[in-house]
């Protein structure tokens, strides 16, 4: 199944986010080998050049590193992994809080609603 993309923003950025998400979730761990560009492009259903660009950018950011003969790997990120997680959860929070504010809830209300939600979940 090709990955799902939002057609309104550059695909290489979305691929970068998707791979970072996999790292944040622990689906990809430091030292793991990343599949070859072509293979990953076919899995994702995107152009190999786009995949190449996404992986090179991740390399530039230090999230991946490549070893000349054996391929690309997830880097030892140390605090970096936490940073990635923080980046992603901030995105989630932004969306959530913006949505709640649009519905007219103040900060206090949002906290109460969250507490109530967690209680009901149990």
């Amino acid at each position: 199944m090709p990955w799902k993309f939002d057609a309104n923003s550059p695909i290489y950025l979305q691929i970068m986010d998707e791979l970072k998400l996999k790292i944040a979730k622990g689906e990809l761990n430091p030292g793991d080998k990343v599949p070859a560009v072509r293979e990953l492009a076919i899995i994702a259903g995107v152009n190999p050049n786009t995949m190449q660009k996404a992986l090179s950018e991740l390399e530039r950011e230090g999230v991946l590193y490549s070893q000349r003969t054996s391929g690309r790997f997830v880097a030892e990120l140390g605090n970096g992994q936490a940073d990635i997680r923080q980046g992603i959860y901030k995105q989630y929070m932004d969306t959530f809080v913006r949505g709640m504010r649009e519905l007219g809830f103040a900060n206090d209300d949002i906290i109460k609603i969250l507490e109530k939600y967690f209680n009901e979940e149990e």
Binding site: A7, N8, I42, N47, T50
Partner: protein, 233 residues
């Protein structure tokens, strides 16, 4: 640097009044998957036929891999026409043999592999295949060549979404960094994820030629939406 496709000052008219191109210029690098996008009658098929050598420009020059369009350029161009042109009485196997004889760059093993992945019995006569399978066989033939330029004229029109996915995957799997693929279509949504660059063509004029991701970034819209805006009637 040499372009894979280099078109300068091309004029093409059908008869006296129907001028399709006048002063057309276009340069395309190797290693790209390019969407040729435009409404009906904008000149997409004419452009592809000029590149394939099925039509001759009135004036101007067209170079493919540095060669004038002719037998030499045809040896490096693999063309998928809008309509099927195969003799329907042939078996798939015979078609493969024919391609092998015609094109030095035809990879027979690859063709058989792809046919078997699709469970197409190569002893079947073409006319007994379903419409979708016929389209897939055609595409397999075209993509089994190791060409430098692939011209795909509406490769996904008229097939179901599953066949469409198959076709796009076949294009990606066979794509090679040295070659370029030009895909003409008006079904933009279905193919936009696999494109490097897009060419918008309107009444014989190139109105935009840009990287797909750059366009999305600039406009915050999908290629499909940008297309609808550019070509709003």
């Amino acid at each position: 640097m040499n372009y894979l496709v280099d078109i300068t000052g091309v004029r093409k008219a059908y008869g006296k009044n129907a001028v399709v191109f006048d002063g057309l210029g276009l340069k395309i690098n190797a290693g790209k998957i390019i969407g040729l996008l435009g409404p009906n009658g904008s000149g997409k098929t004419t452009l592809i036929k000029l590149l394939a050598g099925l039509l001759k420009e009135d004036t101007g020059t067209i170079l493919i891999d540095g060669k004038q369009v002719g037998p030499e350029s045809k040896a490096v161009v693999s063309y998928l026409p809008e309509r099927t042109y195969f003799n329907e009485g042939l078996k798939v196997k015979q078609l493969i043999n024919m391609f092998k004889d015609f094109y030095a760059d035809f990879d027979e093993t690859r063709a058989y592999e792809m046919m078997s992945l699709l469970n197409i019995d190569t002893n079947t006569v073409l006319k007994k295949l379903s419409k979708g399978n016929k389209e897939k066989v055609q595409l397999i033939m075209v993509m089994s060549r190791r060409a430098k330029l692939y011209l795909l004229d509406e490769p996904i029109a008229g097939v179901d979404p599953a066949a469409r996915d198959y076709i796009l995957q076949t294009i990606l799997t066979n794509y090679d960094k040295e070659a370029s693929i030009i895909i003409s279509t008006h079904l933009i949504q279905d193919i936009e994820n696999i494109l490097d660059d897009v060419i918008f063509i309107k009444q014989g004029q190139i109105v935009a030629y840009n990287s797909a991701d750059a366009l999305r970034q600039d406009k915050g819209q999908s290629i499909d939406e940008i297309f609808r805006e550019v070509f709003r009637c």
